[in-house]
């Protein structure tokens, strides 16, 4: 079983210069409207897309053929863990295979989000083989408007 932390995501409090460089590179590429493309790392499953809006992070993964029961999700602070097993049901024992490209197996992945999330409000949905986890950004890390009072 594989366990890998995606450590090169933007994260507050880290001052690794290489990471900082990577972050700048990503910001630059975003500036050119190309989005953030990350080469998939070997040995990681599933591949994930992470997006954000004002209130939430959205983590998505393509997991065709899985049921909600085959998945195990947990969240702590700013970390999301996904593990599970993809099972391919046994077919007719007399079946003669011409092609066998789909794979079964176990997987486990831990991702660190850019900020803390409200763990009690996290929701997960599974539609057409695509998992979507909606993680509301914690109120404590959201920017707050401060009004200046005139004395």
């Amino acid at each position: 079983m594989l366990l890998r932390r995606v450590s090169d995501w933007p994260r507050w409090g880290w001052t690794n210069p290489l990471e900082e460089l990577e972050r700048m590179k990503r910001e630059l590429s975003q500036g050119f409207g190309r989005g953030l493309w990350r080469e998939p790392t070997a040995g990681v499953f599933p591949l994930m897309n992470v997006t954000e809006d004002k209130d939430n992070y959205y983590v998505r993964a393509e997991l065709p053929g899985l049921n909600a029961d085959d998945l195990d999700l947990s969240v702590t602070g700013d970390t999301l863990s996904i593990s599970g097993e993809r099972k391919l049901p046994a077919e007719d024992e007399n079946a003669q295979y011409h092609r066998r490209e789909r794979e079964a197996g176990r997987f486990s992945r831990v991702v660190t989000l850019p900020a803390q999330v409200a763990t009690d409000k996290v929701q997960a949905q599974f539609t057409d083989g695509v998992l979507t986890v909606t993680l509301p950004i914690a109120e404590s890390v959201k920017p707050k408007q401060i009004t200046v009072k005139v004395a």
Binding site: V6, M48, Y58, L63, P64, R99, R102, G105, G129, V130
Partner: protein, 135 residues
């Protein structure tokens, strides 16, 4: 088969399709991973097409060429911006030459959780038949 079940899955980048026909639609086209197996009665095809809804999937069989054409709808909302992108969303396209004679009226397709299951029953004439030899 216990060792197969406990195998760790490895992510594979989706393979871009090399279609013989020129693309007229925008977007990427991928080759879906398939399993094809055959029994005496039928041919079964399983294809991984995550993100494709039944109404956006076209299955076509003519002149023994089976074409799968699925359009994946992005689940992302309009207000979302990228944080990390590891996989791409696009369409699925794949063609197969079927050597067996398929009974076109009995083809049955089911799309569930992003997996297409296509049953292609063989015509009666193509099924092996035992011939009793009288002594």
């Amino acid at each position: 088969m216990a060792d197969v079940a406990s195998k760790a899955l490895q992510a594979k980048e989706k393979a871009e399709a090399t279609t013989p026909a020129e693309q007229t639609r925008p977007g990427l086209v991928f080759t879906p991973a398939v399993d094809i197996f055959e029994t005496d009665k039928e041919l079964t095809l399983l294809a991984d097409m995550p993100g494709v809804k039944a109404e956006y999937l076209n299955i076509d069989l003519r002149d023994n060429v089976l074409t799968l054409d699925g359009e994946a709808q992005s689940p992302e909302g309009p207000g979302e911006t990228d944080v990390v992108r590891e996989y791409r969303i696009g369409n699925y396209y794949r063609q197969f030459n079927l050597s067996q004679v398929i009974d076109q009226t009995k083809i049955d397709a089911e799309l569930k959780d992003g997996v297409l299951r296509l049953r292609l029953p063989k015509v009666e004439a193509a099924k092996p038949r035992k011939i009793a030899v009288k002594g």
